[in-house]
Symmetry: C2
Amino acid sequence: MPLTALEQQLNFLREIDRLKTVTRQSPLLDQSRKENSAEHSWHLAMYALLLNEYACAAVNTNRVMQMLLLHDIVEIDVGDFPIHAGLSGELQAKQEAEAAVRLFGLLPPQQGNELLALWQEFERAESEDAKFAKALDRFQPLLINVFTGGGTWAENNVSLEQVVSRYGPVIKRGAPQLWAVCEQWVVRHFAGQTTKS
Amino acid sequence: MPLTALEQQLNFLREIDRLKTVTRQSPLLDQSRKENSAEHSWHLAMYALLLNEYACAAVNTNRVMQMLLLHDIVEIDVGDFPIHAGLSGELQAKQEAEAAVRLFGLLPPQQGNELLALWQEFERAESEDAKFAKALDRFQPLLINVFTGGGTWAENNVSLEQVVSRYGPVIKRGAPQLWAVCEQWVVRHFAGQTTKS
């Protein structure tokens, strides 16, 4: 007997519970442990809700929030690709695209196709909504690193120049005012000063 | 010097990082650990996005998602009040209301007031959006308990009648079709049969 729409939706919702077990490189701000990708996605949706006025252009905040809620679910299949690990972008993109097809394929076709299209739009980073979502996805771990005395930068011996080149273009493109703040934090951080507020 | 709007917003976003350290009673579906309130909120927003067709009335899905993303942040100050602990509802409501004022008060006034109003609307559970959000907030832990062989029910010796009375009215009111599924699960669960799909 084919599954009902509700059964397909509940299967998907149960499957994505696994995102709570995908560990990221970034710590929590209290440094008690590493962040997982589900709580990271929650936090990013809150960033989008609160910081939409700093987007590079008029954005649809609800679409941005939806993108950020689902942008990482491919990690259920392929894990988190750390920004400082120097892995192949092409291989990562291929594996993630396959994971998206499998995961959204659990849903009723129309709903699954809509969410797959939203995920692909985020990945392409061309629309205004996607550019802002990408900027926040880069801004949040930068903020964590600055407010935890280095975080993943200290662990990976990342230099000021590498921070500027790995985070700058994406944040600047989607949220230039946020990048202006980041520049101040980063310069202060690499000068050895702690950022408290 | 007064804080800029962006400084207030970033202070709030840093403060709510603490929701990741609030532990709930429910386990993850793989039972590796208890769920925290931040990842729970992420999951509920995904429930709202996917299951809006089962709402009791026409709802604004994006408002429901926003409510669910922020509904638990008061737990940063007061912790999670377990449904089966039999605590005073009045004391809980008072403490949570104070926490909401403090937390949303970190934001620029207009933004903070808007989010506080949304949180209060959720708590009142009178609007269609809030009724559906409340139903999902009750549905998700029920699903977890069913699919983990009992979860918090087993730990607290909760009976079939108690499940029906503690979950039923809220789920039925906001999402009657989801309650119909729950009834089947619950009856099967208390008859000692495992639910696999």
